[in-house]
Subunit: 335 residues, 2 copies
């Protein structure tokens, strides 16, 4: 079995074309966002939509629950789809929904998305007060059932808090070092070091607002940044989280940014001049181009085993550590 190829964040306008491209790019597993500001019932509706896709395209995709599903995907020439949430709206104010959502397959949940949530502060708030009282309880519950704490859109203090509070390694599934490109969504060296020292994972983003030079960022510049970051935090602690939002209309980025929390328009990482989805770099159009990144990483001086780890092996190890339940009397919660 060759090393798996895993993308730790996509939120595309899903279609058979995209599922076909996943396999064309030899992508064995994808962490997909299924919900932003949707409440529990609305999130379940999104899961129902995914269930229809699983039923319609069983030869291309299936829902992933455990790390074993990566090997199943490889064996059967399909892609395992792992669910995640970019905001805790899906669990409402009810800690019991963490286990329910895990049972339904949710394997990642961000504690906040740009704004303050019931659990943590988002990266766009003026002040970050760290994890809330409920946030600490929910982190413990996520640890118990095997749901990954994802701090991609949270503030620095909240992120450091989550790293410290969580008894299991956490993830920043889609962001880049702010030292390379100082976007608010990118992460400080302090966070990078704490994340990697605790066994956590960073997924490098290909979303243009996270890239130096935006859509014009070169493959070489991106891959040198990856190699430099790997040298700093450990080559086992990094992977890809492309943040691919393929074929989405701009109305979707408006939902992501403004949800129901404002009547005004929020530009997030964009601006009034550039309100929509920016074009992807020409060397990463979609799932078919992961091999281009692997080649770029080798050109940046990384060895074959290192590249295999970054392109999926590291996420596979992290999935294995992260998705099972903890506790003696408990069954593996995914069974």
């Amino acid at each position: 079995m060759t090393a798996p190829r895993i993308d730790a964040l996509q939120y595309a306008n899903w279609s058979e074309k995209i599922f076909r491209q996943m396999r064309l790019g030899n992508v064995d597993a994808v962490h997909v966002t299924i919900t932003y500001h949707e409440n529990f019932r609305e999130t379940v509706r999104n899961i129902e939509t995914w269930n229809r896709w699983f039923e319609q395209y069983p030869e291309r995709i299936f829902q992933g629950f455990t790390v074993d599903d990566i090997a199943l995907a490889q064996r059967s020439g399909r892609t395992a789809i792992f669910f995640g949430a970019q905001n805790p709206s899906c669990m409402e104010d009810d800690i019991g929904l963490v286990e329910v959502l895990h049972r339904l397959g949710l394997r990642f949940m961000q504690l906040s998305y740009n704004n303050q949530s019931l659990l943590a502060t988002g990266c766009y708030e003026a002040e970050d007060t760290g994890l809330t009282r409920m946030g600490r309880e929910v982190v413990a519950e996520m640890n118990r059932v095997g749901m990954v704490v994802d701090m991609s859109h949270s503030g620095e203090r909240s992120t450091l808090d989550a790293i410290e509070q969580s008894t299991r390694p956490i993830a920043i599934t889609h962001a880049n070092p702010s030292e390379w490109h100082p976007a608010r969504r990118n992460v400080s060296g302090r966070v990078l070091d704490a994340l990697s020292q605790s066994g956590g994972m960073l997924g490098f983003s290909l979303y243009p607002h996270h890239l130096r030079g935006g859509s014009d960022c070169t493959l070489g510049d991106f891959c040198e940044m990856v190699a430099r970051t790997a040298a700093r935090v450990g080559v086992d602690r990094v992977g890809i989280g492309s943040d691919l939002c393929q074929d989405q209309p701009d109305s979707v980025v408006d939902w992501m940014r403004a949800g129901r929390w404002t009547k005004a328009r929020d530009y997030g990482e964009g601006s009034a001049d550039s309100p929509g989805f920016p074009p992807m770099p020409d060397w990463f159009r979609d799932n078919r181009d992961f091999e281009t990144i692997a080649q770029g990483l080798r050109a940046a001086g990384l060895g074959d085993a290192e590249v295999a780890g970054i392109m999926g092996g590291n996420w596979a190890r992290f999935f294995a550590e992260s998705f099972g339940a903890v506790g003696s009397g408990q069954r593996e919660a995914a069974q």
Copy 2:
């Protein structure tokens, strides 16, 4: 491994005492009702409550998903709890919720409870028009994902329709032959024959309103009825579905009967003179008394293998046939 002991319907006021009594009675698996008129979100709240019990009493109970959990219960000296719904309110008007509820562990769903539902007619309606348009679609979906169609509280025509429409055997988890005791909830010979010929199962009820003589029904009379019914429909087609409602306050029977569909009081199988839960027969107080029934069945002339089948082996075979998903590209939905 001895033959399993399985009760195909209980709706108790759950407590550690009752979970302990399940094991004292050597009960390996119980189909428990988790919802009547609750909508989806309310049903999930009930599942959250069960999750707390599973977390609190891991040495006594765990959630059952597949037939293998019966053997796990036997090996570990616990009781496997399988979820069921006595009305389709939990799936609202949304066929996509069938698969979601199955994923959450729902293994039985009644198509109606006394009244007309979106799917079928209940046994207390004046006219029974059989399965509705949606009812036929939902039966097909339940067949696909592996959720048992339970017609315990449905009308005769709807029940015959369900037996005919369903591509997998169905169940009447808790009722007795109306020829023995003509309660509206008991089932006609016509239904019994169609049910058994299609491979379906009848669970004999110990709820006093379903018994000849009510709370005064004797063990001998009950067991002779079981033996006679087994002789008619096949000794492999019958089991126990006690309908034990242990420790419930009368307010719960009011919810079961009246839900939110009437502002008046509905007496269901009771009456104004006897509105609450009737006392159980003295030979079946609770889970500890299943051995008494086994002895009664032997006294009624049934052989050891036949008694073992009725006390659980037949339900175990039915669980094995019923809980898995159908379809080539599909994974076993309980994994």
